[in-house]
Structures are given as structure tokens and as C-alpha cells.
Symmetry: C2
Subunit: 202 residues, 2 copies
Amino acid sequence: MPRFVVIGRTAAASPDFSLVDLAGTSGRLDVLVRCVRSALLVSHGLRRDTVVYLVLLGGPRAPRVLRVDGAAAKFLRPDERSLATLLQKSLAAEVPAGAQGFVPVRPGVSVAEGGLEAAIADLGGAAPLVLEAGAEDVRVAALSPNAAFFVGDHLGLDDDARARLASLGARSVGVGPVDLHADDAITVLLNELDRRAAAAAG
Amino acid sequence: MPRFVVIGRTAAASPDFSLVDLAGTSGRLDVLVRCVRSALLVSHGLRRDTVVYLVLLGGPRAPRVLRVDGAAAKFLRPDERSLATLLQKSLAAEVPAGAQGFVPVRPGVSVAEGGLEAAIADLGGAAPLVLEAGAEDVRVAALSPNAAFFVGDHLGLDDDARARLASLGARSVGVGPVDLHADDAITVLLNELDRRAAAAAG
């Protein structure tokens, strides 16, 4: 069960952004929206075994984390507008005061107070890996099928996140010689996992 | 110089679609917009050696082809809204009556009357390859660096396009065991080409 944690250093944790100008009004939540698509959607289907955490560190309600679970998600469409609409509704949902951990707000979508720590707590003992340009190639790296992959946004991971992940023993893995957008790096990584799963299944 | 030809069986060849509801009003031009991003944009940069053709077979002005050339393109941003705005302005541009072939309408963007044939004529002698689920794996296939890759949209290639590409001697290549969206297939293919180029450069 691959899990992806995408850290949006400026991405809106509140629903007060415009769907008409997502990239310009949401602290670049569009970058994270594209990661939801690449992690969860395939041709005419959904990766039911995959979970995406969006760590939202921007705006008045930050920090919060949205979790999108492929096993339970419904009505996911690939275009940015519909995915952003889903995230906006999820961020606007009423959450009972004092609720702990991830609270379901839409089918397959939950929200938690807190930043990177909220995601880490939810991951349990999953082996942490950081997707990073120039690191050990995913084609040769040991990859636990139970791994949690941490991905930076257009700004990359900040020093605090790096230090925290290092304290968890995270290794870094890379997807090739060219530094790719976060969503493309997820696509390449999932392709490698798909190939390994197919090979293991014979 | 990799070239991608994405065939949009219903994608609007005219600018009369709504940027507010791109997926719902443009004959799924959003699928092609995402292919422009994955083919041309990398982290903080552009693939200057790559060209994308969008074959637009939907709407009142069809068939037309948009060509986006990484060598000359400017101001490309990764979000669907800005890419769709660029394509809409390009489709709305005045083209001199009787103009032949591809006419420049924006920096790096040209438009031609005609469908698949207009793209094929512009490609010269490039070796044609079809990106297709289940075909020979790109990791082992012979891939000319001068190849032209033909990609279907969410509906796939129709029989006429298949027959025409077969008449050109096109081989099919696939990107792995899971059937991916067109933009993800392009990402995986370019990752393979990046790796081969890096290996060749030593």
C-alpha cells in the first residue's frame, strides 16, 4: 500500500481560494492537486491501494492535513478544477470541536489538524522514503511495498521537514537524471512499483 | 528531439470553450492540456528539445492541429487554467486566408488546418511509434531519439488513425503493466529517454 505525503509549504489549509484562479489564489495548491491525480488515477480507474496526504501549511487555518484514500474515494475526476472543488469542499466541512486525528468529511477524504506530524502519526510504522532529485535510483533501490513517500512541492522540502524525516531514518530515492515536477516524480515511482508488483505476480 | 502527437477525438478546435469548466465544455481538451504539461515542463524549466502536436478533431473548426514547440515557447505554466488560456488564445488567433502548413500564432505555438495528416506532414521522416498499453516495453524497445510518439486521448486511437499509422510502419511501445492516462504515459516515456540520454552522455 503506497502512501504519498506531499508537503505544500504555502498551500491553503482553508477553502478561501478561487477555483477560477487556483494557482494564483491558493498558495499553489494546484501543485498538490496534480499530485492527487497522478497518485490515484489511472486510465478508467483508481488506485484503490494508494493513499495521499496533503500537508497544507499556508493560510489562516494552517497547519492541516487532507488525506485522500483510494480505497474509499468516489467521483474523482482528473481535471484540476474538479479535484480542487473536492478539496475545497473538504476544507470547508464542519469538523466537531475537539475531534482527534483524521475526521471523514467526504467519501474517502479526511482532514486533521496539524502539519507533518499529523501525517507521520497516521502512517504508523511505514518505512519513510523521500523523493528527491539525484538520490538513489528507484529502479535499483529497495522499496518496501509498505513505504511512505514524502514529496516536496515546487519549493522543495524545508530544513525542518528534512531534519524530522532524517530523525525517522528516512532514505532518499530519485526518479532519474532530470528534476521533475512532484506529480511526474510520483508517476515514475508508481510505474516502478507497478512493474515490481507485476513481476512478483509472475 | 522527441515529438508527441496527441489525438483528441472530441477536443475543441475552436476557442469557444469555458476556462471555468474546461473539462465540461471543450470536448475534453483538458486531457490534451495535461499532455502539454507532462511533455514540456520539468521542475523550474522547459524541455527545449521537445515538440507537442495536439490534433483537435472536435467542434466547428475541426480538424486543426496546434503545435507547441519547447524551443520557442514562453510563459508556460503548469496549471491547467493557464495552459488552457494559451491554447484558447492560439485557437482564436487570426490566420491569413490561404496560409499553408503551420502558422505561428503565439511564441512557440503554431496552428494548422487539417487533422492527423497535417501533423504527419510536418514530422517529415520521423520514425512513428504508438504509445499503447500492453505493447513492447519502452525499457527494452529500440527508441530513436528522433522518434514521433502518437498518443490517444481518454477514448484511445480510432481505427482510421491506427490504420494510417500502420501504413507508415509505426511500431507500438508500452510503458508498463498498468494502463495510464496519456500524460502519465508521456512522463514515463520521457523518463526512459532522459535515462538513455544521460547514459549516452556518460
